[in-house]
């Protein structure tokens, strides 16, 4: 498969006052054509900065990057014709209608909605009933779909989606990912960032980012398989108390809340429930539910963060 996006040793820092913030530190990765590539990381990891560099809105301090074989600095004009960018914040004209926004961006790219209807059809059809409504009056999910339609209107070969599902309800999020899968069948490379770990498993490959660095790049499966230590989920009637007591134990390596459970990794990697029960024998609480579970991306992320 050919390479669609190539990033090589990119660094970017900002100076606010006298403090220098290193937003990106020596980032390198490659994305193949037609791949859904996820940038997973908490707020402030540098995802947006990376997007801005790749979409030619910002120039990196160091390193080089190319999109579709074009250099992001020297051949930025070529890139602007072939990438679609959906910023994290809704950035379409709220006082223009759905239809007007679409035709506006289509014209800027010298094309029209009719010419690319087949590509945006599945998305646009969902907002078409509201085409006379102003973008500002749309619901959050609808806004996302409109923004995606606008980003797709010129048939980009690479699509950059910056936290497209932040602030969108669970159902819309699911729908959105299904749409991305459909787009993939058109051969569009999709680079998507998200702070939600559960969405990582929907990507072909993900890069885990933290404080401007990429900690690991792998397929979601590969990442979870790299988690070698046995992971235990625990629950009791007093969860906070349980966490404090677990963290106080010498045998416990890490313990963090995860949904309704606490995820715990023990030193010495016990594999049987009896061993675990013995290790937590001194805890005041009885009635503790203990279960061994497979690691999720989030567990891997927590693990990487602690290294």
């Amino acid at each position: 498969m050919s390479v669609s996006v190539k990033v090589n040793g990119v660094s970017k820092s900002f100076t606010t006052g006298k403090v220098e913030v290193k937003a990106l530190q020596n980032i390198s990765f490659e994305v193949s054509k037609g791949e859904v590539f996820g940038l997973i990381g908490p707020d402030g990891a540098g995802k947006t900065t990376l997007f801005r560099i790749l979409t030619t809105l910002m120039i990196a301090n160091k390193g080089e990057a190319s999109v579709d074989g074009f250099d992001v600095v020297k051949q930025y004009k070529k890139i602007r014709n072939r990438v679609g960018y959906m910023p994290g914040r809704f950035s379409l004209y709220q006082d223009l209608t759905v239809e007007e926004n679409l035709s506006f961006f289509a014209t800027l790219f010298n094309t029209s909605l009719e010419k690319n209807y087949d590509l945006v059809k599945s998305i646009y059809q969902q907002i078409e009933p509201f085409k006379k409504r102003r973008a500002g009056a749309l619901s959050g999910g609808m806004k996302q779909k409109l923004a995606l339609s606008c980003a797709l209107i010129h048939r980009p070969s690479v699509l950059f989606l910056d936290e497209p599902t932040t602030g969108v309800d669970a159902v819309s999020r699911k729908e959105f990912w299904e749409l991305l899968r459909q787009l993939q069948t058109h051969g569009i490379t999709i680079i998507v960032s998200t702070p939600y770990m559960d969405e990582a498993s929907l990507c072909d490959r993900v890069a885990l980012m933290q404080q401007g660095k990429i900690m690991e790049i792998n397929s979601p499966k590969g990442i979870t398989e790299n988690f070698k230590k046995p992971l235990w989920a625990m629950r009791s009637s007093a969860m906070y108390q349980l966490m404090l007591e677990l963290r106080a134990l010498n045998e416990v390596e890490t313990c963090y809340p995860f949904g309704q459970y606490h995820h715990v990794v023990f030193k010495g990697n016990p594999v049987s429930e009896d061993d675990v029960r013995r290790m937590i024998g001194n805890i005041s609480q009885r009635e503790i539910e203990v279960r061994r579970i497979p690691a999720t991306i989030e567990d891997c992320f927590m693990e990487l963060m602690h290294q």
Partner: protein, 372 residues
């Protein structure tokens, strides 16, 4: 061309969809044009006068009634003590004290000469100045009358006297509105041009839409033209509204050609829009843009010759006004409206403002970045 057209289309749609902006654009000039010229009147009327009369003669009576007969003066009190009169001044109830000495009439009759004392409250300099001047003028007039009364007989005055009669050109009745209204109109056109352009572009920055525009292959000049043209048109519309209002309400018919005004305004607006554009490239939020434009406009207006004559400014300020486009337009407006100047007469102004337009716009375009 298609790109530029859709940009303009979008801009006009947005402007006409925002009722608040529309109101500001069209109502603000109308109200300002109706209110400001009526309020900004330089003729000082109702100078509060306090007379201290130690003489109580028929001459002093005659003088006082002559003074109070005009509508410039308003007699606050007629008293016989200077201290009392000064109290009025201290309490800001009087602007002027005229003291008539006890032997006023006697002196005039016997010695052909008398002195009057005038005290001015100079806290309000303009009022003191003009009030004093009016009073001197009236007293001078009174003096002439007295002399005529006494020296009636000789047909030819034994002493040569020179009398001056003044004739006001271009504005015979010294009507303030005639020269204020065109000036205020300039301010309005400038404000709409500079403020709206700056705010409009900064707004796109603020809500992030510029980001979405910047990733498109749109050219810099297309974007900038798409921003400037709508406000250029709006500026000319405001000018038109203003000219209509000044004709209907103030009966001001430009002596010169309307076309001359439009030609100059068209060029002038380019300079003003360039300024707005420049501000927008520096500002990151609408507040910043607003404050920055307000600061610049303040200086331009105060040093623009609308309220204070440029000729009476200190030399450094006069040099500064050479770089003030507002001053040029105000002068041109007055020249065309009052004097009927032609394009040929304002060629220097026109060329200078055109130069401003080029410099400001080039600087703005150079400073405008699609990427950081």
């Amino acid at each position: 061309m298609r790109v530029l057209r859709i940009l303009l289309e979008k801009e006009f749609r947005q402007i006409f969809r925002d009722p608040a902006i529309l109101r500001i654009i069209f109502l603000m000039p109308i109200i300002q044009l109706i209110v400001m010229p009526l309020a900004a009147d330089y003729t000082v009327k109702n100078v509060k006068l306090c007379v201290v009369d130690y003489d109580h003669s028929s001459y002093s009576q005659k003088l006082i009634s002559k003074i109070t007969a005009t509508d410039y003066f308003q007699l606050v009190d007629y008293t016989d003590s200077y201290e009392k009169a000064l109290k009025y001044v201290e309490n800001d109830q009087a602007d002027l004290v005229l003291q008539i000495p006890s032997s006023f009439e006697k002196q005039v009759v016997k010695e052909d000469k008398a002195t009057l004392f005038m005290a001015l409250n100079a806290i309000n300099g303009v009022k003191a100045n003009l009030g004093g001047a009016y009073l001197r003028y009236i007293i001078g007039d009174f003096n002439r009358e007295v002399r005529l009364e006494w020296l009636q007989l000789p047909r030819f005055s034994p002493q040569p006297t020179i009398q001056i009669s003044a004739l006001n050109w271009f504005n015979p009745t010294m009507n303030y509105q005639i020269f204020m209204v065109p000036g205020i109109l300039v301010i309005l056109v400038t404000m709409v041009g500079a403020f709206l352009t700056a705010l409009n572009i900064v707004k796109e920055k603020e809500i992030g839409t510029i980001e979405q525009i910047n990733v498109t292959p749109i050219k810099k000049y297309q974007f900038i033209l798409g921003k400037l043209l709508p406000f250029w048109v709006l500026g000319l519309m405001i000018l038109t509204i203003g000219l209509v209002i000044s004709r209907i309400i103030y009966g001001i018919n430009p002596v010169g050609s309307i076309l001359t005004i439009y030609v100059f305004a068209a060029v002038y607006l380019l300079a003003v829009l360039g300024m707005g554009l420049l501000v927008s490239t520096f500002a990151n939020s609408q507040q910043q843009a607003m404050l920055l434009s307000f600061f610049i406009m303040m200086i331009f207006i105060l040093l623009g010759g609308l309220y204070t004559s440029i000729d009476s400014m200190p030399e450094w300020a006069q040099i500064f006004t050479k770089f003030n486009p507002v001053a040029y337009f105000i002068e041109v407006m007055r020249m065309v409206v009052l004097k009927g100047s032609t394009l040929f007469d304002i060629r220097v102004h026109l060329a200078t403002v055109f130069l401003f337009a080029i410099v400001l716009n080039s600087f703005a375009v150079w400073n405008y970045r699609k990427r950081s």
